[in-house]
Structure formats: C-alpha cells, structure tokens
C-alpha cells in the first residue's frame, strides 16, 4: 500500500502540467481583468469630457466584453486556490503561514473588484454618469493591488524571506510582512502590471484592424484602435526599462536562473551575450555573440563576473533550453514591439495619423497574439528558471507534490475543460464584436 501512495515520477509530471495549464490560462485573463477596466474607464471618461458619442459607444461595447472576460478570469483564478493544496500539499502545509498573507490581501482586493464591477456593469442606466465613472475607479485600484499581492507570493518563491530555517527544514520565527515585502516583489510586480497594459492594449487594438484594413473603417474603429494601441505603445518602452531592472535583480538574487536564461556554463568575467541559437553541450550554438554583452547588461559593467550553471550541482539546474528560448522569445517580441511603438509615435507626431504602410496594420494585427506569447514566455522564464525549486534553494518541487494517486486523470479532465472554455470565450467575444453597433447601444448588460 505504501508503495502505491508514493507519488511516482509521472504524477509529478502531471501535477506540473496541470499547474502550468491553470496558471498559463489564468495569467492572460488576469492581465485583461486588471488593465481592461482602466481602458473602459478611459473611454468613458473621454466620452463624458468631450461629449463625443464614439467614446461612450466604445466604453459600452468594451464593458460587455469585460463582463465575459472578468467572469472567466474570476473562476479560472478560483481553481488555483484549490490546486495549490490539491497538487502541492506539502508546500502549502509547510509554508502556508509564511507566504499566505499576500494571498489573503489579494483576496480582499479581488472582493472589492467583484463588488464594484457588479455595480459598474449593471449601473449604466441606473446611476448618474459621474457616479458611474466613480464606481469604476475602485475596480482599477483593486485590480492593480491584486496583481501586486499575487506577484508578492510568487516573488517570495523566488527570493524567500521572513523566517529562519529550523534543523528539520521547517520555518521558525516567521515574519509574514517581511515575507510579503520580499526583494523580488517590486521588479516582478511592476513588470507584470506593465505586461498587463501591453497585452490588453494590443489585444483591444487588434479587434479593429480588419475594419481599418478593409477601408470600411469608421471613426468608431479608428478611435477603438487608437485607444488600445496608444496604451500599449506607451507601456512598451517603460517595460524595456523595467525588464532590465527585473533581469538585473535575477542576476543578483537568482544567478542560476540568469545562467539558464543566457546559457552560461562557467562562472567567468566579461561574459558575451548570445542572440538566438541553442544551448548544446554547455555552449550556445548558432547564436550571434556580443562580447561582454551579458556582463554589461546584467551588472552594467563589461568586465563583471557572471555566475555559471556549474556553480551548482547538475540536479539543481533548470532545463536551460526551455528557459533560454522562452527568455529570448520574450525579449525578441518586446524589441519588435518597441519598433512598432516608435513607428507609430513618429507617424503620429508628423501627421496625426497612423503610419500609412500596409505593413503597420499587419504588424498591429500580430501584436495582440504576440503580446500574449511574450507574456507566457516571460512566465515560463521565471517559473521554469526557478526549477527544481518550488521555494528557491529551500524546497524542491518533487518534495512538495501530493502523494495522492490518480492526479493525471484530473489533469486530463481539466485539459478538456480549459479547451472548451477557451473555444467558448473566443466564440462569445466574436459574437459580441460582430453584433451591429446600433444593437449594442440601446441595451445595457442587464
């Protein structure tokens, strides 16, 4: 019997896959749930200030999509609070009271979000315009706070603090506030919040590209595109700065993760940066090397020493190619997005119009899915880069997994559920977007 109860390697694999699936799905909805209300509110505010009906029309439209996306985000977030315990009971049992506080505060923030979004979505006809706008503000504040506190918990997994380790491997002298304000919190949370703005902005803009390309675009499509695209285009250059901050933080606090991100085998000074390529037998093959580039980027010093993978035993290293490819993908997409944002800014300064090239709209269409891909790649970088640890250098993922039998069947079931949920969400959003404008104006969400 005891043999049956010991989690086999495959169950660890399925537990990991299930967690990755649930988080990978939720992270997109969470980003939209955080940034989209701000965009809706921006449109509503512009509408009230300028009296331009197009803004009001957009706000109404977007609110309907927001209602759907927020609901899916709410429920896909709830399952996580089950899965932490279902899949990783030893992690939660041992560390729940160290790292649980930010989740509790996030719970309250989400509560506020759910309360005010209920009033906001059902309040178009029932509240005065001014009041309706005011009701939206707590949604935005709570959304950003939610992201901040959830990332605090993830940051703690990367840089665990707020306790001393007993001889039995259990925490002592727990200080939950110190755990909450771990050093990864600030760069990670800022990076995440900007990512939400970029993903949401580009996804919203994408919706209007077909109309703009076909030439049947009205002012409604143009303004819809511009609002979304501008928010993302402003956030992208900021993300470059914050991304640099986050990477340098990783270099200092999780050197092995950085080594995996860049494919650095030996600890050396003046390490080159490689663009592209693959990590084969301890070397980056097929990449474009930039001498001293990594030392400069990671420590702002071309001769700085960079810790290599061989600073830890092989069993303590993450899978390099997964982490490195994900990281390159994120940075690559971010760089192209920066180009797109600059292109847009130049055209706007010169002519108060979009770039006239057909390629701009093609790129804008791709920017939505590309932003989602970059988001997922960034998430893979930080999560897989932390492997094999669930609590960095303290608890291994394999020591945290449940011993309950049959986890894989839950995973298979959830695969089907998430696939159906994704298809249904896209279908419903397409139906909403395809509905004639006149039909959408006169009906509130109620």
């Amino acid at each position: 019997m005891s043999m049956l109860l010991v989690a086999s390697q495959p169950d660890l694999f399925y537990a990991r896959q299930q967690m990755a699936l649930s988080l990978g799905f939720h992270i997109v909805l969470a980003c939209i749930g955080m940034a989209f209300p701000a965009l809706v509110l921006l449109a509503e505010w512009r509408g009230q200030r300028t009296g331009d009906p197009v803004y009001a029309q957009l706000a109404r439209r977007w609110a309907r999509a927001l209602a759907v996306l927020f609901a899916v985000g709410a429920v896909s977030g709830t399952i996580l609070s089950f899965e932490f315990g279902i899949l990783w009971p030893r992690w939660m049992g041992r560390w729940g009271d160290v790292m649980g506080l930010p989740f509790a505060i996030e719970g309250f923030a989400f509560f506020a979000e759910a309360i005010f979004i209920g009033i906001y979505l059902y309040g178009w006809e029932r509240l005065s315009p001014r009041r309706h706008l005011l009701v939206g503000i707590p949604i935005v504040i709570a959304g950003v706070a939610s992201a901040f506190f959830v990332v605090a918990a993830n940051g703690w997994m990367n840089t665990p603090t707020g306790f001393t380790l007993g001889a039995d491997g259990r925490p002592r002298h727990i200080d939950p506030w110190a755990a909450l304000f771990n050093t990864s919190l600030w760069p990670e949370a800022t990076h995440m919040i900007l990512a939400a703005a970029i993903v949401t902005g580009f996804l919203v803009a994408m919706v209007y590209v077909p109309a703009l390309r076909s030439g049947r675009a009205t002012r409604y499509h143009r303004v819809g595109f511009l609002l979304g695209f501008t928010v993302a285009a402003v956030a992208v250059p900021l993300q470059l700065v914050v991304g640099d901050w986050a990477a340098r933080h990783v270099a200092t606090h999780q050197p092995v993760k950085l080594a995996a991100m860049e494919g650095v085998t030996h600890t050396e000074s003046g390490v080159a940066l490689h663009l592209g390529g693959f990590f084969v037998d301890g070397h980056v093959v097929g990449g474009l090397p930039i001498p001293d580039g990594l030392s400069f980027l990671a420590f702002h010093d071309p001769s700085a020493k960079v810790t290599g993978l061989d600073s830890v035993p092989a069993r303590d290293r993450p899978p390099v190619n997964v982490v490195r490819t994900a990281f390159q993908l994120m940075v690559g997409i971010g760089t192209v997005m920066l180009g797109l944002a600059v292109w847009f800014a130049i055209a706007w300064r010169r002519r108060r119009d979009l770039p006239s090239s057909r390629w701009f709209l093609r790129a804008a269409l791709l920017a939505g899915p590309a932003a989602v891909l970059a988001l997922e790649a960034g998430w893979v970088t930080t999560e897989v880069g932390r492997q094999p640890w669930i609590v960095y250098r303290i608890m291994r993922v394999r020591d945290a997994v449940t011993d309950a039998a049959g986890i894989r069947y839950g995973y298979f079931g959830l695969l089907v559920v998430y696939a159906a949920l994704t298809v249904a969400t896209v279908l419903v959003l397409r139906r909403l977007a395809g509905r004639p404008l006149a039909a959408a104006d006169d009906e509130g969400p109620s």
Binding site: I86, G93, I105, I119, Y122, R126, L127
Partner: protein
C-alpha cells in the same frame, strides 16, 4: 478566545456568507435547470438572471476568502483536506469554472441554441458544485481526513454515508434558500405569478431539506459517532435552533410572509453550519487534528486578523452598497 479561534470564527463567518449568498446562487441554477423549456421557463430564468447577475461574483469570493484563511491560518489542516479530498474538490472547482463562465456567456449571446447550451451548463454545474463541496465536508466531519503529509483514502473519504448526506443536504438547502429569496424578490417586484411559483418550490425544497436532515440523524448516528455526540451535546442548541427556524420558514412561506421566511431560512442554514463547528470543537479535522495544532505561526495569525479587520471596514459597506444596488437599482443615498 485565542487568535486561532478568532480566525476560525472569521472563517466560519465567511463560510456562512458563502452558504447564504453563494449557496442561493447555486440554488438559482437548480431552479433554472427545472424551469422548463425555453418559452415556458423564460420568466423564471429572467428573474433568476436579474436576481443573481450583479452579485454572483462578489458572493463567490467568500469561498476564496475561506480557502485563503484556511491555508494561511491553518496550513496543517488545509494541506491534508485538499490532498485527501482532491477528487470532490477538483470536481467542485470544475463546477465553479463552468457555472460562472456559462452564466456570463449565456447573457452575452443572443441565439437560442447557444443560450440553451450555456444555460444547461450553468444549471447542471450549479447542482454538482454544492454536492461535491458538501461531500467534502462529510469527509472532514467524520475523521476521514488524516493530518500529516500522507494523504488519506482518496475515494472513501468522500464516498461514504455522511458525505452523501452532506452533498444532498447542500443541494436541497441551496435550492430552498434560492426559492425563498426569489419568491421574496418576485413579490417585491410585484410579479405575483412568479412569486407564487417560487413560493411553492421553496415549500417543496424546504420539506425535502427537513426530510434529509431528519434522515441524516440516523446516518450520522451510524457513520459519524463523534460528530453525532457533539451535535447532540454541545451543538444541541444550534441543532434545535436550526430545526425551529426551518419549521418557522415553512410556516411563514405557507402564510405568504415571504420576506420574513427569507430570514428564517437563512437562520436555519447558518445554524447547521455553526452546529457542525461547535460539535467538532476543539478539533479542526474531526478526531484527528486540534485547532491549535493546525494553526500557523502566531505572527501570521495576528497579521491575518489585522487584515480581516481592515478588510471588513473597507468591504462591508461596499458589499452592502452592492446589495442595496442589486435590490433597488440605485446606490444608497441616491
């Protein structure tokens, strides 16, 4: 009262709110399922949608609150509960996903085929979710969840007489609460026909809940001796209160005092929940793990209590505003 006990009280306040508010939303889905075909059931479904639309997301957060308090405040209870009872809890989580998403989808689409598909998903998952949550409670209350890092039996921990009782009681209770609330809502909205329909459903569901509860006495006597002893001794006043409130709710419904019936029904449900808590005291996992042994570090318990106090100050007025808004269509003071 220790800090741990304070936190446990807060957790049960959260669970009570979830049972009364989230439970009624699930129950509304139950009636949605039984409302008949698309034409005949239209009025009832509209009333249900109108009633739970603005509030279901907020009501749903009470469960998240309870889970977060459990894992931060009592990590050594949360971990074995989740790992041993992962089957019903995964099913409940899937039910929660399908219920919420399908409800939002149904509202957003206009074609009948899609509305039907999403509506059926919403309604079915509204019935299954409380059943699995109730079954999980049955496992905890009968000592089938062992503490420690080895999980208990993943099947018999929730496929057992008390769990079946817990699941069934949860479903009928949700249906009873929902029908009682909807009857009062429809009355206030002045739709007599609808109010009568929900009133008769509330009477049926209330009778069923009473019958399940009475039958449950025998189940618990046979299957859960410790819990039974607790319920018939320390928990007895609450059990009596629940029974009395339930009977009162039915009498009030019978005499068409729908608003008062709503209060009595809520009291009956909350008393059962607290009766369970009192009967188990001082155990968090019945027979196995005491509250103090399950509790996390003192500093964390204090921090959580502070957060809950601050959160209550900020959120309770907002929540009341939401309910006033949902019921009257305006914010207080407007």
């Amino acid at each position: 009262m220790t800090v741990a006990e304070f936190l446990l009280v807060a957790l049960f306040v959260g669970l009570s709110a979830y049972a009364l508010l989230g439970g009624a939303d699930f129950g509304a889905g139950f009636w949605d399922l039984l409302a008949g075909d698309a034409v005949a059931g239209r009025a009832q479904r509209d009333a249900i949608e109108h009633s739970i639309g603005p509030v279901w997301e907020a009501n749903h957060v009470w469960l998240i609150f309870a889970l977060v308090v459990l894992w931060t405040g009592f990590p050594r209870a949360y971990a074995p509960i989740m790992s041993t009872l992962y089957v019903p809890l995964t099913l409940a989580a899937v039910g929660i996903i399908l219920r919420g998403a399908a409800f939002a989808f149904r509202k957003a689409v206009t074609t009948l085929t899609l509305q039907r598909a999403f509506g059926a998903t919403f309604a079915l998952s509204s019935v299954l979710t409380p059943f699995f949550l109730g079954a999980a409670v049955g496992g905890i209350a009968t000592g089938r969840v062992p503490p420690g890092e080895q999980s208990g039996d993943v099947i018999t921990s929730w496929v057992n007489p008390t769990s079946i009782l817990g699941g069934t009681l949860a479903v009928v209770t949700c249906a009873f609460l929902a029908a009682t609330y909807l009857a009062a809502d429809a009355r206030r909205a002045g739709v007599v026909e609808l109010s009568e329909a929900f009133r008769s459903r509330a009477l049926v569901a209330g009778g069923a809940a009473g019958a399940v509860a009475v039958g449950g006495i025998f189940v618990l006597h046979a299957d859960a001796p410790t819990l039974f002893h607790g319920l018939t001794h320390r928990g007895l006043p609450l059990v009596v209160m629940s029974a009395a409130s339930g009977v009162a709710a039915l009498a009030l419904l019978w005499t068409r005092r729908n608003a008062a019936a709503r209060v009595a029904a809520a009291l009956a449900v909350v008393a059962v929940l607290w009766g369970w808590a009192v009967a188990q005291y001082p155990f968090l996992l019945e027979d196995r793990l005491r509250i103090n042994a399950a509790a996390g570090s003192h500093a964390t318990l204090v921090a959580m209590s502070v957060c809950i106090a601050v959160g209550a100050v900020l959120l309770v007025p907002s929540l009341l505003a939401l309910f006033v808004f949902a019921q009257r269509g305006e914010l207080p003071g407007e």
